[in-house]
C-alpha cells in the first residue's frame, strides 16, 4: 500500500508528486508509460517554457528537468515503461515488461495522463488517404526524438501552438512550409508563436480557410485550400492548389480520459475532462486530476500550478482525511464561454480566494466578464482582450461564494455591443 500513485510523469505528474511530498506525504509512486519522465515536454525542444513560473525562458526538456532533478532528491519512486490499465478508488492496475500485470494498492490517485491530438478522422477531412499526413505532435516526435525528417514541402492545417511550432521546426530542418491554414477567422495559438514561428519565416497564414481536397495514391502529392464562409462552409471556386508531400494537422487536443471514464468518474462534456472540486478532486473521493487530462492548457507553467494544488490536496486527503461535508457552489460557463472550472466549489474547503479558469468561445475586445448567482450579479471583471487560445483566470472571494446562492454563472459581454 502506498499513499499516492500519480499516473503520468509529464509536467503535471512531476509537479503533483513533488507538491504532495512537500506537503508531507510519505510513500509516492509515479507511473509512466514512456521510457523516461518528462512527457511531451521531451520533444518540445523549443524555448518559451517557464516564463511565468520560473521567470526565465527554458526549453521543454529543461523545464521538465527542473522538476526531475528535485524529484531525484526524494525517495519518490518512478516506474517507467509502465502502462496504467485501470483505476479504482484504492488501486491502480499496471502492465510492464519488467513487472507484468500488477494491482498496486494506494490511498490516493492523481490522474495526470495528458492529452492526445485530434487526427484526420476527427474532422472528416475529404480526399485520398496517402501517407504524409501526420499530426504535428507525431511529426515533432519523428523530427526531434527519432532524428528523422518527415517531408520537404509542407502545409500545416490548424494554427494551434504545436502547428505553429512545427511550421518553424520544419523550416529549420530544411523543408519549405507553404502555408498555415486556419478555419477560424483568428488563430488559436499564442500571439508570440504567430510572430516567432510564422511571421519571422515568411510563412503565410490563411485565416478562414480549410483543406477541401487531399491528393495522392501512395505519398501525399497535393492539397486544395479553400476559403470558408461565416458558417465555416467552403466557398466553391475559392480553392488554391498546393503541391506538397506533407500535411501536418494541429486541429485540437483531447484529454486522454479513458481510465477516468472507465473508473466511473463524472465527466464534463465541455472540457472532456473530469468534473472537479476546488482542490481538483474528482467525483471519486481520493482521486484527483490535473494538467491536460483535466482540461487543455496553453502553457506548461499553468499546468504546474494546477498540479501542485492536486499534489497538496492528495496529501491532505491521506494525512487529514476526506473534505468535510459542505454547501456546494456550481460554476457554470454561460454565454461567451467554452467552459469554466472547477465545476464545483465546497465553500467550507475553499481558500480565501478560489481561482476559476475559463476559456471564451471567440475573440472579445473591451469586454466584461460577469459572475451572477440566482439572486443577481456578484461581480464584474473588465478584460481588454480575450481569445479562445488564452486561458482566463478570475478570483472568487469566499464572500462571493457565500452570497452566490449555490450557483455562479459566468457570461461575457462586449462593452459597446
Amino acid at each position: 500500500m502506498v499513499d499516492l500513485i500519480v499516473i503520468g510523469a509529464g509536467p503535471a505528474g512531476l509537479a503533483a508528486a513533488l507538491a504532495a511530498r512537500e506537503a508531507g506525504l510519505g510513500k509516492i509512486l509515479v507511473v509512466e508509460r514512456e521510457g523516461a519522465p518528462g512527457g511531451i515536454l521531451n520533444q518540445c525542444i523549443h524555448n518559451g517554457f517557464g516564463i511565468e513560473y520560473f521567470g526565465e525562458e527554458l526549453t521543454g526538456p529543461e523545464y521538465a528537468e527542473r522538476f526531475w532533478d528535485d524529484l531525484q532528491k526524494t525517495d519518490i519512486e518512478i516506474l517507467t515503461e509502465t502502462m496504467a490499465l485501470k483505476v479504482t478508488g484504492n488501486a491502480v492496475h499496471v502492465l510492464s515488461a519488467k513487472g507484468g500485470y500488477r494491482i498496486l494498492k494506494t490511498r490516493s490517485v492523481i490522474l495526470a495522463m495528458g492529452c492526445r491530438e485530434k487526427a484526420r478522422g476527427s474532422i472528416a477531412l475529404p480526399g485520398d488517404r496517402p501517407s504524409g499526413i501526420l499530426t504535428a505532435g507525431t511529426a515533432q516526435r519523428y523530427v526531434n526524438i527519432e532524428g528523422l525528417a518527415v517531408g520537404k514541402r509542407v502545409v500545416v492545417l490548424g494554427s494551434g501552438d504545436i502547428g505553429l511550432i512545427m511550421a518553424r521546426r520544419m523550416t529549420l530542418e530544411g523543408a519549405k512550409v507553404l502555408a498555415c491554414v486556419e478555419i477560424m477567422p483568428y488563430s488559436s495559438g499564442l500571439t508570440r508563436n504567430i510572430v516567432q514561428c510564422l511571421n519571422d519565416f515568411d510563412i503565410p497564414l490563411y485565416l478562414s480557410h480549410t483543406i477541401t481536397d487531399i491528393r495522392g495514391k501512395k505519398r501525399l502529392t497535393g492539397v486544395t485550400v479553400s476559403r470558408v464562409d461565416d458558417c465555416l462552409r467552403p466557398v466553391p471556386g475559392s480553392g488554391i492548389d498546393f503541391e506538397c508531400d506533407t500535411l501536418l494537422l494541429s486541429v485540437g487536443l483531447i484529454p486522454e480520459n479513458e481510465l477516468t471514464r472507465a473508473a466511473g468518474i463524472k465527466m464534463d462534456p465541455k472540457t472532456r475532462g473530469a468534473v472537479v472540486y476546488e482542490n481538483t478532486e474528482t467525483s471519486l473521493p481520493g482521486v484527483f486530476a490535473c494538467g491536460n487530462v483535466l482540461h487543455v492548457h496553453d502553457i506548461a507553467d499553468l499546468v504546474t500550478v494546477e498540479s501542485q494544488k492536486a499534489g497538496r490536496a492528495a496529501a491532505r486527503h491521506v494525512l487529514v482525511g476526506r473534505e468535510p461535508d459542505s454547501p456546494i457552489v456550481s460554476i457554470i460557463g454561460g454565454d461567451g464561454l467554452l467552459y469554466a472550472l472547477p465545476q464545483k466549489i465546497r465553500t467550507v474547503s475553499a481558500e480565501e480566494d478560489t481561482t476559476v479558469y475559463f476559456r471564451v468561445n471567440r475573440i472579445f475586445r473591451n469586454a466584461t466578464v460577469r459572475a451572477a448567482g440566482p439572486g443577481g450579479e456578484l461581480g464584474a471583471f473588465r478584460r481588454i482582450h480575450m481569445a479562445p487560445g488564452e486561458m482566463q483566470r478570475i478570483k472568487l472571494s469566499r464572500e462571493m461564494l457565500q452570497k452566490s446562492g449555490g450557483e455562479i454563472t459566468f457570461i461575457v459581454k462586449e462593452e459597446n455591443a
Partner: protein
Amino acid sequence: MLDVAIIGCGITGAAAAYELSKYQLNIAVFERENDVSEGTTKANSAILHAGYDPKPGTLMARTNVEGVRLAAEICRDLDVPYKKTGSLVVAFSDGDLPTLRKLYDRGLQNGVPGLKILSAAQTLKMEPGLSPDIRGALYAPTAAVVNPWEYALAMAETAARNGAAMHFSCGVSGIRKTKNGFALTTPKGTFEAKTILNAAGLEADRLHEMAGEKEFTIKASKGEYYILDKEEGGRVSRVVFQCPTEQGKGVLVSPTVHGVLIVGPNAQKTQDREDLSSTAEGLGFVAEKALLTVPGLDFSKSIRNFSGLRAASDTGDFIIAESKSLKGFFNLAGIKSPGLSSAPAIAKMAAELLLKAGLNFKPKETFINRRRVVRIAGLSPREINRLAGGNPAYGRVVCRCETVTEGEILDALRGPIPPRTLDAVKRRCGAGLGRCQGGFCGPRVLEILSRELGLPPEEVFLDRDGSFIVLGDNRKEAR
C-alpha cells in the same frame, strides 16, 4: 508447374487458397499489393449478412447462407474475431412494411433461419437507441460482425502453413495460353500453371482479358464510412439496416468486433478503380441518413473515415464459372456484397469446378486447421502474467489506445505472412486502430518494423508500396 494459380489475395482469393490447401495440390497465390486484404476486403461494412437480400436463385443467394454458416466454423478454428450479433432492417413508414415482408419471404426461400418480423415496440425494446419513429423491423439472428482483414489473413496464413506459396507485391502483368495451361508474367519471373482462379476483384475483367475474350465488365461503386470512437460503440448492439432501395442496402449502423461503431455506406459510381477518396458530400449524406436510424449518434466522436470500392459486375450476380473462351481459367468475379459472407462457399464452388474440369485431387493426409493469436487486451491478469513471465515483450505496451504489446507485434512478424507496413501491423494486431489513429504508436511500430525487417526507416511504408512515412535522417537530408 502449379496446379492452380490464384490471382488476388482478398477475401475470395484467400478463401480459395484455404479451401484448396486442404488437397494434394501445388498452389500459389499472386497479389499485386504488399499484403492480404488490400482491396475491397479492407474497406467494407465488416458484416456477415444473414442472406435475405439476394434474389432467390442467384449465386449470391446460394453462397450467402452457406457462407455465413461456414464462416462461424472458420472463425472458431482460425481464431478470427467474430460476433453473431443478429441484424435488423427497420421500416420508417407504413410504406416500408411491405418491403420487410418481401425480404422475409426471400429469406425463407434462401433458407435463412430464424427470421422474424417485429413490431416497433419489440424492436425498440431490443435496440433502445433507435429512432422512436420506426414502424417495425425484420430481425435476422444469424447475421454477424467479423474482422474482415483478419478473416482473409487467417485463411491465407493457414493456406501458407499447409504449403500454398504466397507471392506479394507480385502482380500478374501478362497471361499466355500454353499447351498444358498458362504462363503468368510477374515481377518474380514467369510461372506456369495448369489452371487459374481469377480473384482479382476490381481488376478481374482486365485480368480475364489478358488471355480471354471480354465476357463481363467490373463497375466500381464507392461507399464512404465513418468510424466512431468506442464511446459511441454501444449505440446499437446489432447490425441495423434501413430498407433497401434500388441504390443498395442503404446506410447501416453497426457494432464491430473492435468495439467501435461503423456507419455507412453511400453508393457512388466511379470510373477510377483506385479512387478511395472521401468527400464532404458523401460523408454528409451518410451522417444525415444514419441519424434517421439512430438520432443520438455523435459524429464529433468520429475517429476515422474511409472509402471502399464494390467490385460489382455488369451481370448483376457473382460470376463463379469457367471462362467461355479459356479452358482452365475460372472467374470468381463481380464479388460485391455479400462477398465477405459468401467467400467460403464461393471457394467450395471453385474447388468443385476444378474437379469437374478434370483437375484430379485428393484431400491431404494432414491439414493444419488451427491458428491461435495472443491478444493481451482481452486476457485476465493471471493469463497476462503467465505469458509475460515467459516473454516480457507481452508486458511492453506499444499501442496505448488498444493495449497492444510489442510481443503481439513480434508474433505477427514471425507468422506465416509477416506484416511489412504500419497498416499491416494495424490489421494484424490492432496497433493504430484506436482513437489516436497511430499518432502515438506509429513511430514505435515503424521502429520495430525497421529493426525486425532490417529496413531503413524510409523504406517502411504506411500501406501500399511507395507510401513512405519518413525521409530518413534529418541531418543527412538537410545537407
